[in-house]
């Protein structure tokens, strides 16, 4: 099984991972029961609803928001949000002057504890290559137009530091509960390729 040649892998990926799993279990490096446990966490437990709750809390509580922007990791821990690929979190506030968007040009680094696993486009060549050099053009493809009166800051996650955008609170949401506010916070609004949903978009059933 040499990687020196450039031919396609000789086997079906399902066979390859089965062979690797079998060997790792034989060698005492892998608990076979741990595999499904791990899949369950990332398929069913972690996901953007966690980040949405954090954003809603920040919108409702200015003191919490200040702590979140000062020390993301510590403030997230207050809400029991922590873990792998989120050990060093920075939350980036979107404002009328600044729009933030996150990428990993080198691979696929993404803040798992707040957003779960990234969508395929985040890990793919078009986004990774283009967002650092033509963010306005990329965001326009997502339906988001950022005027020249705002600065776009692209955060390239090249270390273990992880980033998440804090979208601006939509108009007309005064008095809303945290649960209602969280419904407006989409995954893409925390990556920075969208704003939070407007009331009109929520009514249209967008997500």
């Amino acid at each position: 099984m040499s990687h020196d040649n450039h031919t396609a892998p000789p086997s079906d990926p399902a066979l390859r991972i089965k062979a690797i799993q079998t060997l790792l279990v034989e060698k005492g490096k892998l608990d076979p029961d741990a595999v499904d446990e791990m899949i369950d966490i990332f398929q069913n437990k972690l996901g953007p609803r966690i980040g949405a709750r954090v954003v809603a809390r920040a919108w409702m509580d200015p003191d919490y928001k200040a702590r979140l922007l000062t020390d993301g990791t510590a403030a997230l821990k207050e809400l029991d949000v922590s873990g792998l690929q989120g050990e060093h979190m920075h939350v980036l506030e979107n404002t009328p002057e600044v729009h933030n968007v996150v990428v990993c040009t080198l691979c696929s680094c993404y803040p798992w504890p707040v957003l779960g696993l990234p969508p395929v486009w985040y890990k793919s060549a078009p986004y990774r290559s283009r967002i650092v050099m033509e963010p306005r053009s990329v965001l326009a493809e997502f339906g988001l137009t950022i005027g020249d009166e705002r600065e776009i800051r692209v955060y390239d996650s090249n270390s273990e530091v992880r980033f998440m955008a804090l979208p601006m609170r939509p108009e007309g949401t005064e008095g809303w509960s945290e649960e209602q506010l969280a419904e407006l916070v989409t995954r893409d609004s925390m990556i920075g390729t969208a704003e939070a949903l407007t009331l009109a978009q929520l009514a249209e059933g967008q997500s």
Binding site: M1, S2, H3, H6, A8, P9, P10, S11, P13, A14, L15, R16, I17, K18, A19, I20, Q21, T22, L23, L24, K27, K29, L30, D31, A34, V35, D36, M38, I39, F42, Q43, L84, V103, T105, L106, C107, S108, G116, L117, P119, V120, W121, K123, S124, A125, P126, Y127, R128, S129, R130, V132, M133, V138, E141, F142, D156, S207
Partner: protein, 105 residues
């Protein structure tokens, strides 16, 4: 390394392919298993994350661009687990043959 993975600022990759809300986290069980085994092997000290990322960078550019994300992880697992001596290339070839035979039955 000036690898194909260091893709920031390259031209020619075209439009973003958006996902749908109904898209699953893992497109097939093998992807889920590849993800889980990778994290567990990392947690088990079989290799470090920097070595595994570099392994993906060392894929041929053609292979990198023509295979899927979790196929990259599979390549890295094979490469690094053998490089670290967790199992040998021969043991891996044997295990592959065994699972392939079991499939055929």
């Amino acid at each position: 390394m000036n690898s194909i993975a260091d893709i920031g600022g390259m031209h020619g990759f075209g439009p973003i392919e958006r996902d749908k809300p109904t898209d699953p986290i893992f497109a097939a069980p093998w992807e889920a298993n590849t993800f889980a085994v990778n994290i567990l092997a990392l947690a088990g000290g079989c290799f470090n994350i920097d070595a595994s990322r570099h392994s993906i960078e060392r894929m041929s550019a053609i292979d990198y661009l023509s295979t899927s994300y979790y196929e990259h992880w599979l390549h890295s697992l094979e490469d690094v687990l053998i490089a670290e001596g967790v199992f040998s290339a021969e043991e891996y070839a044997q295990a592959l043959a065994t699972v392939a035979n079991a499939e055929e039955k």
